[in-house]
């Protein structure tokens, strides 16, 4: 491996090991509320000097290893070991104390996990794997994590204790979050795609549509939720029958409308950009061969614009998954419920229980879209 690539590897391994050296792997608290004691990775109870040494060796191996495939393998092995240390440590700590005690993941764990994951992603990117392969590769660690969760290996960690205590809430939040996201995306696509085409086909419409959508996008999310409460609340008061459909000033309805309005700009703007990015020569050639405007759109313009349009949808999906968290403020449900409840109770683990699934959903969505964009763009690159 070249010297620069080696230095780059140092950028990941350095902070990962530094984080573990300076910050605790786990936090131990006598109960849910009190402050905690840090447990370092090599501590006699809850840590393991051997495992720490092995982890350091794996991390250093990512710097020294000659091939990117080996680097990827080493980084993944280090991640697995880190996970084992956390689960094992929590069990060891809990074995000695009351059931009110809590063991949560410490700063060292998070930093090491983040940088090792980045190191793995970096190695995967340098190997030059296609998006589909990257997803398939990711399935391995995800399956391992799922298995570990299933078998209860991590059950002594407080985040899973929170999960146990809030299982109903979590499941409802998951369902609510998906409902918010899908509920907003479907209408946004149905409206946004034609709007984007309209911007492309009619410059005068564009001069109105894009600035208006831009103002919608500019409005802060809470403000949007708040402003929508007013008309929807009024509507529900005037026609009480609508309440049975879930329409009202509070709840999922204003949240879904607000999220859909937010989603319009990236969808419409990218559809417009994609369509207008089709080279004039191709359009001319299509027209010259006698394609009708509708066929030109279906057979030439849309396929060529697809990667850009999908990029817009990808941005929209990631953005909507994140913004849906705010909907909890107006009773819209979703993972935001856990986040806000956690903030209210100063319970970091509850906050994480709400945050991590949001991030996981967003990453999963962007990976899936990356694969789709790559698949549709391949014809163009050739």
């Amino acid at each position: 491996m070249s010297a620069p690539a080696r230095r780059a590897a140092l950028v990941y391994a350095g902070p990962a090991l530094g984080g573990l050296a300076l910050l605790p792997l786990l936090d131990f608290r006598a109960n849910r509320i009190v402050g905690g004691d840090g447990v370092m990775a090599w501590a006699a109870t809850g840590g393991s000097a051997y495992a720490t040494a092995l982890l350091a060796a794996l991390a250093l191996g990512t710097i020294l290893s000659g091939s990117q495939v080996l680097r990827l393998a080493l980084a993944l092995a280090a991640l697995a070991l880190l996970g084992w240390m956390a689960g094992q440590g929590a069990e060891a700590l809990m074995a000695e104390t009351s059931e009110f005690a809590r063991v949560s993941l410490g700063g060292g764990f998070w930093i090491a996990a983040a940088f090792l994951a980045l190191a793995a992603a970096d190695a995967a990117a340098r190997i030059g794997l296609r998006a589909m392969v990257r997803i398939a590769l990711l399935a391995g660690p995800v399956a391992a994590l799922a298995l570990a969760l299933q078998t209860g290996f991590f059950d002594d960690l407080s985040i899973l204790r929170e999960y146990d205590a809030n299982r109903d809430v979590f499941d409802a939040a998951l369902a609510g979050h998906l409902r918010l996201v899908l509920g907003a995306l479907v209408p946004a696509l149905l409206i946004g795609l034609p709007l984007g085409w309209l911007c492309f086909a009619c410059p005068r419409a564009r001069a109105v549509i894009l600035p208006v959508l831009n103002i919608l996008q500019t409005t802060p999310s809470i403000a949007m939720f708040g402003l929508l409460m007013v008309p929807l609340g009024a509507l529900a008061r005037s026609y009480p029958g609508l309440r049975d459909w879930g329409v009202g000033g509070i709840g999922a309805a204003p949240a879904i409308v607000a999220l859909a309005l937010y989603a319009l700009l990236p969808i419409a703007a990218n559809t417009y950009a994609g369509l207008s990015g089709v080279p004039a020569a191709m359009r001319e050639a299509g027209r010259g061969m006698g394609l009708s405007p509708a066929r030109l759109l279906a057979q030439v313009e849309l396929p060529l614009a697809l990667p850009v349009i999908l990029t817009g949808i990808r941005i929209t999906v990631v953005q909507t998954i994140g913004l849906a968290a705010v909907a909890a403020l107006i009773g819209g449900g979703g993972f935001g419920t856990l986040v806000f409840r956690g903030m209210g109770q100063a319970a970091m683990d509850l906050v994480l229980l709400g945050t991590l699934p949001i991030v996981a959903l967003a990453i999963a969505a962007s990976l899936a879209f990356d694969a789709m964009i790559e698949a549709t763009a391949r014809g163009e690159a050739a």
Partner: protein, 246 residues
């Protein structure tokens, strides 16, 4: 000059009038409130809240811009090229974190109030600035860069005299995005005790006072749109070359 800044000036004037004389909104707010509820939020003057809001966004924006610019410049220099993948991945990952999550994670570290919001704003505002700095600097055409090098401009001279001026319109887009996102995030910050216009909305939501929610939402939206149009005008000015042409 005037055509770029007419809209934001009008909006800013409207915002200032509404902040100083909120009672002008009462006829409309009366329609929303339940009988007997307060119409105008009066626990703190709205103007004070707006100024705190702006100060928070401005201070965090300054930090985010400086760090984002510095990082963007660093990874586009030959010596920093190897950090490019790391920076881009971190930045992509950062974008999958919703603002509320950044805020939520910052609270246990820094407690309630100004600090976690400020940190969340710095982190979240940094990403667009970084991304557009990289895009803008990379967008400087190869012949222009080659010419600058071939004529003997030193590295610093190339950066200051050629690359940054040419990248400026794109970087301004990033600063605009960052500011708009941060006005929104600062509003959410009121749920963790940051002083700002979000406080009015949160108070309204907690007490079921739709009038509070509506006035807070309207004022925050107006502030965001005002900032957006002003920065967009600045971007157009840069595009026309008035800022960077020597």
């Amino acid at each position: 000059m005037r055509r770029y800044f007419l809209a934001p000036l009008v909006l800013a004037a409207l915002l200032v009038v509404l902040l100083l004389r909120p009672e002008l909104m009462t006829p409309l707010l009366r329609l929303l409130a339940e009988p007997g509820q307060d119409l105008i939020y009066d626990r703190k003057p709205l103007m004070t809240l707006a100024l705190w809001h702006l100060a928070l966004v401005g201070a965090a924006g300054l930090v985010a811009t400086v760090i984002g610019l510095a990082l963007g410049i660093l990874v586009t220099r030959p010596g920093g090229a190897e950090f490019m993948t790391l920076a881009r991945m971190a930045s992509n990952l950062g974008q999958t974190f919703p603002p509320i999550a950044v805020l939520a994670v910052a609270v246990p570290l820094l407690g309630f109030g100004f600090e976690p919001t400020f940190l969340a704003l710095c982190v979240y505002g940094l990403l667009p600035v970084f991304e557009t700095t990289v895009a803008g600097l990379r967008g400087v055409s190869a012949p222009v860069r080659e010419a600058a090098r071939g004529m003997g401009l030193s590295g610093v001279q190339r950066l200051w005299r050629v690359e940054l001026p040419l990248a400026m319109p794109v970087i301004l887009t990033g600063i605009r995005l960052s500011t708009v996102i941060n006005i929104g995030t600062a509003t959410i910050g009121s749920t963790v005790g940051a002083v700002g216009l979000g406080e009015v909305i949160v108070a309204g939501l907690q007490s079921g006072n739709t009038a509070f929610v509506a006035q807070g939402a309207a004022l925050v939206a107006l502030m965001a749109i005002c900032a957006e149009t002003a920065l967009r005008g600045l971007g157009r000015l840069a595009d026309s070359g008035a800022l960077t042409r020597a």
